[in-house]
């Protein structure tokens, strides 16, 4: 209520306030959604490189599995990106 009063004083309508909140929410949605998958993909790729360095002859199989792992991990970040598009643009 207080926020609405302040916004009314600043000459902002309810729609403007809604758009502003949506923009802030979109930014947080994408930023927060990127944290976990960022750590996760780093972990997956790091372990895969470790495995490839230990056993270069298994590199092909490790690479395939690495891409699968990346694909599953990345899905969460991409859902966050879709939410960002839906809210923010």
């Amino acid at each position: 209520m207080e926020a609405a009063a302040i916004l009314a004083q600043a000459g902002l309508s309810a729609d403007d306030a809604k758009a502003a909140n949506a923009a802030i929410g979109a930014g947080f949605a994408y930023g927060l959604a990127a944290i976990g998958p960022g750590i996760g993909i780093g972990y997956v790729v790091g372990k895969a490189i470790e495995a490839m360095a230990r056993q270069p002859e298994a590199a092909g199989m490790v690479r395939t599995t690495m891409f699968l792992g990346i694909a599953f991990t990345e899905a969460l970040a991409l859902i966050g990106f879709v939410v960002f598009i839906l809210l923010g643009l």
């Binding site: 092909g60 199989m61 395939t64 891409f67 699968l68 990346i70 694909a71 599953f72 990345e74 899905a75 991409l78 859902i79 990106f81 879709v82 598009i85 643009l89």
Partner: protein, 253 residues
Amino acid sequence: MLALEFPPINEVIRWRDLFPTFNKIALIAVLAALITVVLLFIASRRDPLKAPRGVRNLVEAVVDFIEGIVMQTIGRDGLGWTPFLLSLFMFIYLCNVPGIIPPLYMPATARMAIPIFLAVVVWFIYNGVGIKHQGFFGYLKSTGFPPGVPKPIYVLLTPIEFISVFIVRPFSLAIRLFANMLAGHLLLVTFALLTDAMVNAETKQALLVPLSILPFGMQIFLTAFEVLVGFLQAYIFTILAAVYIGTAMHPEH
């Protein structure tokens, strides 16, 4: 502050109809399908006894690549799925690549229609394969009740497995392709707009024009990056389709 006006999302991904019900996205999709058909047709007509050259050589490399994916994910008895996965891969790749080709500049997969359709096709196929190889109830049992788990865990595990296999899989498959391509497209739009705004700024500050090399360089880097992403997304879509078909065929792992 730069006067940077980002256009609404509909202007970025929507195109004027070339004629009613047919726009540039549809044109790209039709072209991708046509190029796939023509390439494979030309490659299949050559004499198989001679050493491959030109188009046939290219297509053989792609077929080898897809066969490698099938061998790694399904196994020898899955080689019958190579033609399907091959056409899937080539179609998605040729839909992704126009995102960086100058007169087109739009990946057809950046609209939800094509990815969701492909994902639904894959959904029907892997469920069909599962039902064919294990029978209807056998497929449900191997999906919902994976072996080697203590009994009480099934209360928690079975609903999760069912939701993930029958609902989340097609959505994540479609959203992965769609969101990757749309994100790349939006990045290219952003840096193109930034370069344009810096070159044509009204304030006429001396530094703005030479500094516009920064977003322009980023634009070039992102274009090179999009080449990689377009290939990688087609590869991941294909390999996930193969993995889903493989798990439906061989439930034990």
